[in-house]
Symmetry: C2
DNA sequence: CTGACTTACTAAATCGATTTACTACGACTT
DNA sequence: AAGTCGTAGTAAATCGATTTAGTAAGTCAG
């Protein structure tokens, strides 16, 4: 009777019922009272703590059964507060749209969920204020770690962190990077074998973290193959539109320069698609007149007409690797020697946007 | 001196330093001790609680200044525990890849961040086990609300919920839906005006929540325009690949049936792109031989060659609306009358994949 | 000079777990 | 008979806020 009164009072004191029917889930204390045991005992048993070794199996069974029966779920927030682990990561991305980020997120998600982790996302759109603010927000939310995708770090952070396609050397941050030398070799080697030596290049936007490194690899590979990189055949993407527009614009610029080329290596698939459109509008067919190689191998590369020859980045795998690395560092705090970077291998995917060089419109006009 | 000892002991007692340098952020208690005030006072002042009206401005200023100076940040988890608000939503999606989900997520993100909320995502890939499990996991994490995107609900949930493109009638769930009647009118009207009356249809996968509703709207619109819907010109997408493969396969089936058509209305842009490829491989050009209309207007629709004529869903807006609706329901618990559904308007985007009907290869062979 | 108000705060309870440091009690050893 | 174990637990502190229910001191009216 006394207890009933107490219960009534509790309901009355908190008339917040979120929804018509949810009578707020059972707490550990309630479960303990129901069993006539202390919360301590339940906690030890339910968490299979070593200290529970002295509890007889019979009692354990009773506890498990009651927990199941009353549908007991430990209060996640309370547990987080006590253990100082949120089982949540922060993921920082330029934006969600587009194949690249989505693929990486997919990989991250896969690994995290199977480890009982979730992640929160923030899109910084390369805005430098947001680049500073979001990591702070993440830390305020007590994330256990941070993954940044194609994102420049502004400050050091105090939790384990991994950067996908990051190239900065920051203490405590592991970079997941593609073997860009290999990628450049594959792409240029492919074009070279097809007989191309007048090759145009579309570099990435300045804010893209791969831009610089990839360009260096391309220069190296070109040198090895004795391919000349002509400044007049080199343009860079501008603007942060996630559409194929920047690639289109860059290619128009290339065409205006009137220096001729039989092949084009674009910074990514999306810009390659824009490039093909620009070429077509100038009466140039891909691959007959100009071969085009993309980068990333996002879904759209395969959809495209013609199917895009491209360098595949194992984006999903990179996401998985990132997640795995952060999780490891969270577990073994500071034990492991912490690799500065982990590298993954690119793959050449040959589709229909590249073909053997023929004496075509563009070239005949210069030679 | 005594205090120094106490501090030393505390550090010694907790030798868990996560990272080489992070001396764990200041807590409210520490800040209070530093100021010679009680945590209560600080809490009242910092949260601008009405009860703080009796605190003189001078004291308030001291508190704010100290908070800034010591870089005090309230412990998010502790606050969540006390207030029973996690300021986090759960978002349930089929998968992250592809334009559709990404766009909606973008809209959700935008609204949430500006309200101080974050979200956690889970991809169910239409797996019915996951469809049951993830909402449970969300609730276990004490999300304040749930948004489902193109997802069927299995159970009722005990927090405010919104379904983007959901059509089930579930108590407490608000559906954000496109005006499909209008969409069908726009698409068929457009084709009709171009002279098409032999129109093929690719229906959605059975698990897609829009499939049924949209099909009914199409039938209605066809009837109004006196367009015949021939079973032999109707196929449905199969399999859950997020690529254009299902659209390609469906179109091949359509072509095999040998019944002729001059236009095709696909369930979404991705399948429309697959359809165009299948048509081309059969020697049929788009739009000269067959006009194709897609649905959604994802990025890839504009990239495609030819640019895809399509029905745009305001996906980003739908995401924003979903977020806004959940947030409202969280604030005004149960006050508002809770609309069963909120509808948004489609838009016809005419690009290059549709053209006036001409006596083409397909039609001449039947007539 | 008492009671009511205002001002400026604070002690303690609470949210719901985890974890440390005990307590009984019986059995067994020496 | 005293001391040592092992068994079966429990009380209380803790994580870091928020919030309720005060208190103590001063002011003012009547």
């Amino acid at each position: 009777m006394c207890e009933t009164a107490a219960v009534a009072k509790r309901n009355e004191g908190a008339p917040r019922k979120k929804h018509s029917d949810s009578p707020r889930p059972v707490s550990l204390r309630q479960l303990a009272e129901h069993l006539g045991l202390s919360p301590t005992t339940l906690s030890l048993v339910l968490n299979d703590s070593p200290a529970a070794s002295s509890i007889p199996q019979g009692t354990k069974d009773r506890i498990f059964e009651a927990a199941r029966g009353l549908n007991y779920r430990p209060h996640f927030v309370a547990r987080s507060l006590r253990t100082q682990r949120s089982h949540t990561l922060g993921v920082l991305v330029p934006e969600i749209s587009g194949g690249y980020t989505a693929e990486v997120l997919g990989g991250i998600e896969e690994r995290l969920l199977q480890a009982g982790y979730f992640y929160i996302v923030a899109c910084h759109r390369h805005d430098s204020d947001l680049l500073e603010e979001y990591p702070r927000l993440f830390l305020e939310r007590r994330v256990d770690g941070i993954i940044a995708v194609d994102t420049r770090w502004v400050d050091r952070v105090s939790v384990p962190a991994v950067s996908v396609s990051g190239h900065q050397d920051i203490e405590g941050v592991t970079n997941i990077i593609l073997n860009h030398d290999k990628a450049a070799q594959l792409a240029l080697g492919h074009l070279f074998e097809l007989g191309h030596c007048r090759i145009a290049f579309i570099k990435g936007q300045v804010f893209s973290s791969d831009t610089q490194v990839r360009w260096e690899s391309i220069q190296q590979a070109a040198q090895n193959l004795q391919i000349e990189i002509r400044p007049s055949l080199t343009v860079e993407l501008e603007g942060d539109s996630p559409s194929s527009e920047p690639g289109y614009v860059a290619t128009r610029k290339l065409l205006e320069s009137r220096d001729r080329f039989t092949a084009l290596f674009a910074f990514n698939d999306i810009s390659a698609i824009g490039a093909i459109r620009a070429l077509r509008e100038s009466g140039l067919n891909t691959p007959d007149d100009v071969s085009v190689v993309g980068f990333d191998d996002v879904d759209a590369a395969a959809f495209n007409n013609p199917g895009l020859t491209t360098i595949r980045q194992p984006l999903r795998q990179m996401g998985q690797l990132a997640a795995e690395t952060v999780l490891n560092r969270i577990d073994s705090r500071q034990q492991a020697p912490l690799p500065k970077s982990i590298s993954v291998e690119p793959e050449l995917i040959v589709r229909r946007s590249t073909a053997r060089r023929r004496p075509g419109k563009l070239e005949s006009s210069t030679r």
